[in-house]
Amino acid sequence: MRGFAPILIVTALLATVPLITSSNVVLNFLVVALLIALVGQGWNLLGGYGGQYSFGHAAFFGTGAYATAILQVQYGINAWLGLLIGIAAGALVGAVIGALSFRSGLKGSYFALVTLAFAEVLRIIASVAPITGAGVGTLIKLDLRPEAFQFQSRAPFYWIILALVGLSLVLIRMIEDSRFGAYLVALRENEDAAQALGVNTTMVKLLAMTISAAITAAGGCFYAQYFLFIDAGIAYGPWISVEALLAPIIGGIGTVFGPLLGALVVKTLGELTKLMTGDAPGLDLVIYGSVLILVIAFAPRGISGILLDLQRRLRSLRRAAPASLGGGHG
């Protein structure tokens, strides 16, 4: 059970927020941050633990979002069932793209390119296909009943996205302890060596991509339910691909809490920018991009890396303090 207690504590603490405040601004901010944390956790499994950097996680986010929305609007299927089908659809898209690219041996730059291209193809298709509402987008009808996955207040939405994030944290923590997780980290560090030791790296990457896509698709489904509107640019646009990798990298790549930490920091920065400059388009992304470059340059292990370093330095300071005092007198 090591490592699970912090997840429980953090989730439980966050769960009390709606009891403390009913401010829509605060809850809305946290819902969006948790949404990015969930999407980022998906990216983190494949990119952080597996070392396969996808630039097209929008493909999974958008598929989840569109699946949920289209099933409800066109086929009258219940939204909760839509959530499950959306996750499955996202996982399927992940498996297909993964199978195609990993079997062709694409890695590094090539993998980033091909994922980007798939997301763009889906975006173009969604912007012309009639079933997605083409350029107009898809509007989910207002139906404020819990059975329809819609609520009067933001608190239930908040608890649902928090539960999804909590589940993803537990899942990633379990993967860390599993054989599959060990294989994944091994192939990140040295794919040839892992293969030589008998790890079926293609299968491991494929499984990682499928789970990764499923987690990110869950975020897409939630987005559709929360905002009740999607179009091709929102669902399959590059913004979500960027935020998906931004959160884990800034928070701490390949760590359980990295995406959550990163999402909170990134969204706080975004809100601060908006407060200071008004709602100027583009400026928040300028800040995100700069932070991304700065983190890679100066703190490659992200915020959790900085925190761990600080903790270590404090501990060694405490240990060193009496000795250096003694030394000073001597």
């Binding site: 195609l100 291209a117 193809v121 990798l245 890679i296």
Partner: protein
């Protein structure tokens, strides 16, 4: 349907468009060939160059072809500086980091342009923009013919630089064997930055060739760069000949497919080609390495 009266102009126009694609792809492939990275900021830098050409015309009254003379060295310096002082130091020599840093740069540049100039689409009016020349049965727009000629000249100039100058030789040495080049005293960080500068300078020229007939908005460059990615993958990453032939080829394919299929489907055609080549022949049609 296949009458030469329609087909010949479509092919010729495709070649003209393809030439500019080739120039953009040339910059991308040059950088890949030497630094072994895909520059994800290529599109944003092209957009920046297009804005520069646009404002050179509207604020300074410079004809784009004249502005190219100033913008090319300017963008060479910009590219040099970016690689030398941002990408190189930030990436710590790790390929994965370089990917992310160039992506970060793309996000910063694109959104800084969006913040500064909003999402408005702008165009410039030139007296000769709609002039045509008659080539056989085809009427070709003058700016496109100029673009074609300039691209051929630039490709030739690049070839001469690579073949005959010391810097060119050093670039080729670094591309082939980085460690060996280091050992004989070549400053690899400098050569990397020069290469990145040359790739960025290609974009400044491409922007000046595009702006007479095209529009600019903060995302204008992206469409071209996705095509350039396709060309570079098609022609083999790092292959200059591949980029040139691939560029012309894609230009013709696009022209013919929009003739027969319509605009938006033509775009998907390019992506489909891109993904198929990546999946089944990632070394490209002309490349040697897998």
């Amino acid at each position: 349907m296949l009458s030469s009266v329609i087909l010949v102009p479509a092919v010729l126009n495709g070649l003209m468009t393809g030439a500019v694609y080739a120039l953009i792809a040339l910059g991308l492939t040059l950088i890949y060939g030497v630094l072994h990275i895909i520059n994800f900021a290529h599109g944003a830098l092209l957009t920046a160059a297009m804005f520069a050409a646009f404002f050179a015309h509207t604020l300074l009254g410079l004809d784009p072809y004249v502005a190219a003379l100033g913008l090319t060295p300017l963008f060479f310096l910009l590219g040099y500086g970016l690689q030398r002082f941002v990408i190189g130091p930030a990436a710590h020599g790790e390929d994965r980091n370089i990917l992310l840093v160039t992506l970060g740069l793309a996000v910063v540049i694109e959104n800084a342009l969006l913040y500064a100039f909003r999402a408005d689409t702008r165009t410039i009016n030139l007296p000769y923009a709609f002039d045509v020349v008659e080539v056989g049965t085809a009427f070709l727009a003058v700016p496109r013919v100029i673009a074609f000629i300039v691209v051929v000249a630039v490709a030739l100039a690049l070839w001469l630089i690579m073949r005959w100058t010391d810097t060119g030789k050093a670039i080729r040495a670094v591309a082939k064997e980085k460690r060996g080049a280091e050992l004989v005293g070549i400053d690899v960080a400098h050569i990397y930055a020069v290469t990145f500068g040359l790739g960025t300078a290609c974009l400044a020229i491409a922007a000046c060739l595009l702006i007479p007939t095209y529009y600019v908005n903060p995302q204008a460059g992206n469409a071209f760069v996705l095509i350039a990615f396709t060309i570079v993958v098609l022609g083999g990453m790092g292959s200059v000949t591949g980029a040139l032939i691939g560029g012309l080829f894609v230009g013709v394919v696009e022209s013919l497919s929009s003739l027969y299929l319509g605009e938006s489907l033509g775009q998907i055609g390019i992506f489909a080609m891109f993904i198929l080549v990546l999946l089944f022949r990632p070394s490209g049609l002309f490349g040697e390495r897998a």
